[in-house]
Symmetry: C2
Subunit: 227 residues, 2 copies
Amino acid sequence: MNPQIIAFDADDTLWHNEPYFDEAQAKFCELFADYASSQEILLLILNHQVKNLPLYGFGIKAFVLSMIESALELTNNEISGNGIEKIIKIGKELLQKPVELLPEVETVLGKLKGKYKLVVATKGDLKDQHRKLHDSNIGHYFHHIEVMSDKKDIDYQKMLHRLDCQPESFLMIGNSLKSDILPVLNLGGHAIHVPYHTTWEYEKIDFEVVHPNFNSVSHINQILDLI
Amino acid sequence: MNPQIIAFDADDTLWHNEPYFDEAQAKFCELFADYASSQEILLLILNHQVKNLPLYGFGIKAFVLSMIESALELTNNEISGNGIEKIIKIGKELLQKPVELLPEVETVLGKLKGKYKLVVATKGDLKDQHRKLHDSNIGHYFHHIEVMSDKKDIDYQKMLHRLDCQPESFLMIGNSLKSDILPVLNLGGHAIHVPYHTTWEYEKIDFEVVHPNFNSVSHINQILDLI
């Protein structure tokens, strides 16, 4: 493998993210514990998120709007203004969470910098991802950040075109098989999966990935042996 | 002027946008006409938008969340679930508005394509701006779209770095002196102002722009004489 560009997913690849969402959802479930079980509420939020994806895309603002819709449905539109205020607060707290790097991320970036063009390739809120890269203090390892409106084949295709990079010279590293790995393999690129201990329901797939351009490692520092 | 890259702002430069926001705000004012005058309500929304910018950034989802906060404030948290539902609907309608090109935009792009690298450089919701470029049917004139989290000096600087373009080889065209013109001139780039008949309060400036790299035209087809 001799990549020209190495792209890193951000959330749960470079820094912790999903636990913050889980915490936010737990707060929401607590607010509406009188109306449904946590399990039912989590499913309701997910359904609203998925339904809203074509209009809202990914990220925290979309998540907040989907929580509000879930609350309206749960309470049959009887929710109080105070309840809405609490949901907005959950979202604003999420947008201000500290950025905690995953172990050894910085060591790995330090070893790759200068040898490859490194970029961050992530979904989510534009402003929020820029904020997190800034707060992470690892922005200087990267040439730039690409915030993508989705991570399907077509989105990677557009990104590679923009970066003037052939798929075979592109390596993607991330924790989501669905979003970071499969589309890149489909285009003829290389991909390394670095699993995170928890995965958003929407990102789960139920089959095994086998592909000559694919590798999986248990820890990010192991990617150095593969490149 | 011999630009390598010509960037076009999108909203109110390539297609109509502000009138849709005005229409959305008028609907909101009508919903809360019992609580305050339209003028007071518009100011309240603007205040929430500006206050929320550092967390939410630009775009329709941020606008909806700021309308919801405005409604909470207006009603002293007494707003009903139905009221919240109506605000969310206003936002979803905005996200599905048809894209109406401004006159002669396509003619101008047709004359520039192939001679220069054309890009769209816009703020707003990532997903929504991609959607609008797609629906506009003028995507093929552009090398790609840059959705920026803001349009300050630093944001243009990052974009030019990403595009590997020197400021003096960059030309920006847009309707906002504050966002499309001044930061580009500050960096040493070129800029042409094409005013739109109405401007968002936040984008207004109260001084005249005079700069050797600056031009203003009354209609987009006049940029052809300047390039």
